[in-house]
């Protein structure tokens, strides 16, 4: 086998992939290896700037005071931005708190740098002080952005709007993924309305009284309501109105939220996942089963439906309603019912599903509308977490 300097002979594109698989600090430090390496890092198309990673590499850094760490991190990010060459950025990941002056400035600097360099994918996680974070105006109208993932820790209540975010207007945005967000001023609805290319919308851990989704190209919509919030914000009614004619997949989860659901027809709908209950909002507890049935009725085109055991229990609460309501699904191919994990060992004794008690009136309500023979599957509940 030949020896010699194989790594320095690799084309820049492969070296960039290797350096991106390391971390940005390691990448910059390779500049001292030899002349070939001096500027390789400066055209890295993907940057991952994470203040938490930054101080886990060496034992002696871990005990540094937070202020020192943040100062070094912002100094480092500043260096990367000022020494990087002028090539486009494909993806930027920025994980940083917003509760100190320096990091707040660096977040804005990074975002504006990314927009100027035609960033396509942006993942921003404001780890602290999310209520202080504001979108820099350069980002609000970014024309290159295709994927935005946003996680903002620190905003914790719907009833206490500390901030107002203007809607983003991103003409190329295809995927929007928002985590941990209490939407008290219709930021989500406004943004969706102004992002006409949107195909995937994932709302993971949100709180909202009113969600109005109008998206002509939307194919996938996940709404997972936040289950841990401030006392008093947990039990509420949430109005969900969807206008998305190309929607194929709809997922909804909420432990104590009662969605009041309306939609125009969803002719392309194939996949539905519903996990609601055990309780609705105080004051409409009696109406909760009806609200859920009305929602299922609106999702009638679905072919692959998954319902949680909690949702079945909600439906089982009102047997009279089950009899008087028509079956919601008329093209069902598969109905999957999930059981809570902790009980699964009983259900799956000897590999056999031996002792599941299914509310029969609910099952027949769900299945009798479908002419063709579909399948019924009972599975243990697997934590569904949105991808990306």
């Amino acid at each position: 086998m030949e020896v010699g300097d194989r790594i320095s002979a690799l084309p820049d594109a492969i070296l960039h992939q290797i350096l991106s698989d390391a971390d940005v600090q390691t990448a910059v430090q390779t500049s001292v290896l030899a002349k070939r390496w001096r500027y390789v890092w400066t055209s890295l198309p993907n940057l991952e700037l994470d203040h938490k990673d930054f101080f886990t590499r060496r034992e002696e850094d871990r005990g540094l005071p937070l202020d020192t760490k943040l100062r070094r991190f912002t100094h480092f990010v500043d260096g990367v931005l000022s020494r990087r060459d002028n090539s486009d950025l494909c993806a930027l990941t920025l994980v940083c708190p917003c509760d100190k002056v320096d990091p707040s400035i660096i977040i804005e600097k990074c975002l504006c740098y990314a927009v100027r360099h035609n960033v396509q994918r942006l993942y921003l996680w404001v780890t602290k002080g999310g209520e202080r974070f504001e979108f820099p105006s350069c980002l609000i109208n970014c024309v290159s952005l295709q994927v935005l993932k946003l996680k903002c820790s620190g905003i914790t209540s719907l009833d206490n709007p500390l901030h107002y975010w203007p809607p983003l207007r991103l003409p190329m945005l295809k995927i929007l993924h928002i985590q941990k967000f209490w939407d008290s001023a219709n930021f989500i609805a406004g943004t969706v309305e102004h992002c006409p290319s949107l195909e995937t919308l994932i709302l993971d851990g949100i709180g909202t009284y009113n969600l109005n989704i109008t998206a002509p190209k939307l194919r996938r919509l996940d709404i997972f309501y936040e289950t841990h919030g401030l006392r008093g914000s947990l039990h509420y009614e949430s109005v969900v109105a969807i206008s998305a004619p190309r929607l194929t997949s709809f997922k909804l989860r909420g432990n104590y939220v009662s969605p009041v659901f309306s939609t125009v027809s969803l002719p392309c709908l194939a996949i539905v996942y519903i996990d609601l209950g055990p309780k609705g909002a105080p004051g409409n507890e009696d109406r909760f089963p009806l609200d859920v049935m009305n929602m299922l009725g609106r999702l009638g085109e679905a072919k692959y439906v998954t319902l949680s055991s909690k949702t079945l229990q909600v439906l089982a609460k009102d047997p009279g309603l089950l009899k008087s309501h028509p079956s919601p699904f008329h093209q069902l191919k598969q109905l999957k019912l999930t059981q809570p994990m902790e009980c699964s060992c009983d259900y799956f004794y000897d590999g056999q599903c031996s002792s599941v008690t299914l509310p029969l009136d609910v099952i027949s309500y769900l299945t009798q509308g479908s002419l063709s023979g579909g399948t019924l599957v009972v599975t243990p509940e697997v934590a569904i977490s949105p991808w990306l």
Partner: protein
């Protein structure tokens, strides 16, 4: 993809830089975007596809990877992951670089990803002199030049010796 299943039994011949021929099932070859594009555009009318930059030892490794990934069903992701981590284990650096270049040339993304990750892990958290020794990188900076490069990027060395 439908056509690849219909023509499952077709085979094609790949020829390495050192002249060895490999008979490959088409669905295995399709793991390579390069070969897929050639097959799609009917550039493969020749009986044998030459791969002038890839030697027989490397090509055998590449095809082993492709076969495993082509044959495994998507439900066996865990099995594939452990295959991937075993695949590069104990591989010498020369073979690893041949593999990276082959994966890059043949456009086999999964293989390029794991090989690049392995090289990245070798660079990470090591003093520069050690990195130079492992990869036979000759330091062609004068001491003054090296100090100057370090100085222009000193914000990346804060706290480092």
């Amino acid at each position: 993809m439908a056509s690849s299943i219909e023509n499952n039994n077709e085979k094609l011949t790949l020829k390495s830089s050192d002249g060895e021929e490999f008979l490959v099932e088409k669905h295995v070859a399709l793991q390579s975007t390069l070969l897929q594009n050639m097959l799609d555009s009917d550039c493969s009318s020749a009986d044998v596809i030459p791969l002038p930059k890839i030697d027989a030892r490397t090509l055998a490794l590449v095809l082993g990877y492709c076969k495993k990934h082509a044959d495994a069903s998507s439900s066996k992701q865990g099995e594939l992951n452990s295959f991937d981590s075993e695949f590069l284990k104990d591989m010498d650096m020369g073979a690893l670089f041949n593999l990276v270049l082959a994966a890059n040339f043949m456009e086999i993304k999964g293989l390029l990803d794991i090989a690049a990750q392995k090289i990245a892990d070798t660079i990470k958290d090591k003093p520069h002199q050690e990195v130079r020794e492992i990869f036979h990188v000759e330091n062609d900076y004068t001491p003054e030049e090296e100090a100057a490069v370090r100085e222009e990027n000193r914000w990346a060395f804060e706290g480092f010796p």
